[in-house]
Amino acid sequence: MKARFRAALTIGNVSVFLLGLILIVPTLYVPPVWNDWIFRISMLLLLSVSWNLMASTGLISLGHAGFWGVGTYAALLCGNKYGLPLIVVLIPATLCGALLGVLLAVATGRLRGVYFAICTLAMAEGLRVSALMLPKITGGAAGIFLRPELRPSLNVLCFIATCVATLSVAIAQYLTHTPFYYACRAIRNHETAAQMLGIDPRRYRMVVLALSGAMTSAGGGIGAWYGGYLDPMVAFSFMITVQSQIAPILGGMYSVAGAVLGSGVIIALQEATRIWFGDQEGVSQLVFGCILVFGILFMPQGVYGLILRAWKNIDENRQMRGSPKAAPAQNMNAGERK
């Protein structure tokens, strides 16, 4: 028992635990401005972790707004109709997202790369137009409001948001130790080769999409209750799609740590641009576009990659100083690796 506990004490697991503490505990005490930041970080965490999950399987999503929007509508409509609190409503919202993910996986079957990306884009936009054109269900362009008596206090909302975000990070972190994760990585690197090893890409893809969709939809549900108002432009906002990919790319794609780091940096950047440029339309998206282009061109490993590399250099230096005789051999090794 003790040994198992020891084994679970890896750097990754401990950091997830600490992250949860840092996020969740303050929501009970701090003033509203802080809560606003914490809430936004939580939402971004949900988005980026779920996007990263798909990217790790080689599936680039340009349609996270679709999952998000479905979650928002499921949560708000259920809540308004039956007068349920947010905690209960999150269940149908999450289920709807998972269902949409499964449907997408079934529909896109063998598509990859650009074809898959275009498909997700089409899904999100198609859903948005449908929401706009079916006013009997969604309220159409006029939008719908959350019943005011259902709205919990800001602290409660943030508490729920941080809990869900931490849970999703924990799930993603847990998965990195499982065969499931290695199978996904194999699919990303070479689908045919993975298939020859007995991995059924369709099944893995279905699970990944369901999980990713569920996370995003849960975020959407919480987001809808935070905003209290929905119309198709808000629910299926293009910004969601952009936000979900920006954090993992800046932080470092294909790693949970990268997504988390990226989320923090992005929120800081957003605040900075808001202070420097005010609320002028387009500035933050422009910054995101620049991050995408320059990140891919000059820093494909992201911030996390840079940290890892710096860490390794320090390590090597220390080893060299510790045993001067072995230094030349070490140097040669380092040279070969490059």
């Binding site: 598509l111 137009v129 494909p300």
Partner: protein
């Protein structure tokens, strides 16, 4: 009944303009094998170029069109050298995200510089129309369609007979063999990309008097372009022409025959896209997908 004929006329005119929208993307993808998610945004920039040429220099969109295309070719080649050439052999993911980022930059620069207001150029022919009995042929669309088809025809002839055009086709068909024949690959890549940007400029100029110009138009257009090229088969020139006409006709039929159809037309492209990708991802005229 004239209703059906009118619908056909409108559909074909719309499809003709769509041919030009999709042609640039097909060209750059066929040669460089990078799907350019910023193509819609290039079209948006073209529309604004036409708008400002008319507003500031009093140049008719059709007069400023060749100048804009020339400038766009140069800018496109530069852009390729500076940015796109670095990701030619990168994984799919990086190509998608980089061009998507480029689109975001263009869209928001336009939004910051020129605000989100709807604009349009109003040359004299924008509101004219020809009447044949009960049938109406809107002048702006007719001229737009004709210019689009002329441009596409010219590029088609260039691809067919000109030395550089043939080199472009050779490159699209078989890169290794083209290299062995002494074709300067980086230069041809840059030229094909520059040409595709120029075609986007022209498409934008036409759209500036056919529909409204906003910074957000690029993304909507991108959806239509994808529907067209996927329907026709990614990289196939003939396929994209067929796809464009089909999409134009389908959208018009939906607008005419389905209640509240005008609102649903926006969804047609995405529905088509989704269906084709599921049923036959290689499209009508495309080669089998090799991933």
């Amino acid at each position: 009944m004239a209703y059906l004929e009118q619908c056909l006329i409108d559909g074909v005119l719309l499809g003709g303009i769509y041919v030009l929208l999709a042609f640039g993307l097909t060209l750059s993808f066929g040669v460089t094998r990078v799907v350019n998610f910023a193509h819609g945004e290039f079209i948006m920039v073209g529309a604004y170029a036409a708008f400002w040429a008319l507003a500031l220099l009093k140049l008719d969109p059709l007069v400023s069109l060749p100048l804009a295309m020339l400038a766009a070719t140069v800018v496109g080649m530069l852009l390729f050298r500076l940015v796109e050439s670095r990701i030619l052999n990168a994984p799919d993911e990086n190509q998608i995200l980089l061009t998507f980022g480029l689109a975001l930059i263009l869209q928001n620069v336009a939004l910051i510089l020129w605000s989100g207001d709807e604009r349009s150029t109003n040359p004299p022919y924008a509101f004219s129309s020809l009447m044949y009995g009960e049938l109406v042929v809107p002048g702006a669309r007719l001229i737009g369609c004709l210019v689009a088809l002329i441009l596409v025809g010219l590029v088609f002839l260039w691809l067919r007979y000109a030395e550089l055009g043939r080199a472009t086709r050779a490159l699209a068909e078989n890169r290794e063999a083209a290299v062995l024949m002494g074709i300067n690959v980086p230069q041809m890549y840059a030229l094909a990309f520059g040409l595709s940007v120029a075609l986007a400029m022209a498409a934008g100029a036409i759209l500036s008097f056919v529909s409204a110009v906003t910074p957000f138009m690029g993304f909507e257009i991108l959806g239509k372009i994808f529907a067209i090229v996927i329907l026709g088969g990614l990289g196939s020139v003939l396929g994209s022409v067929i796809g464009a006409l089909l999409l134009g006709l389908t959208e018009t039929f939906v607008a005419y025959y389905i209640p509240e159809g005008n609102g649903w037309t926006e969804a047609v492209a995405f529905a088509v896209l989704f269906l084709v990708l599921i049923v036959r991802p290689s499209g009508i005229a495309g080669r089998e997908i090799t991933t």
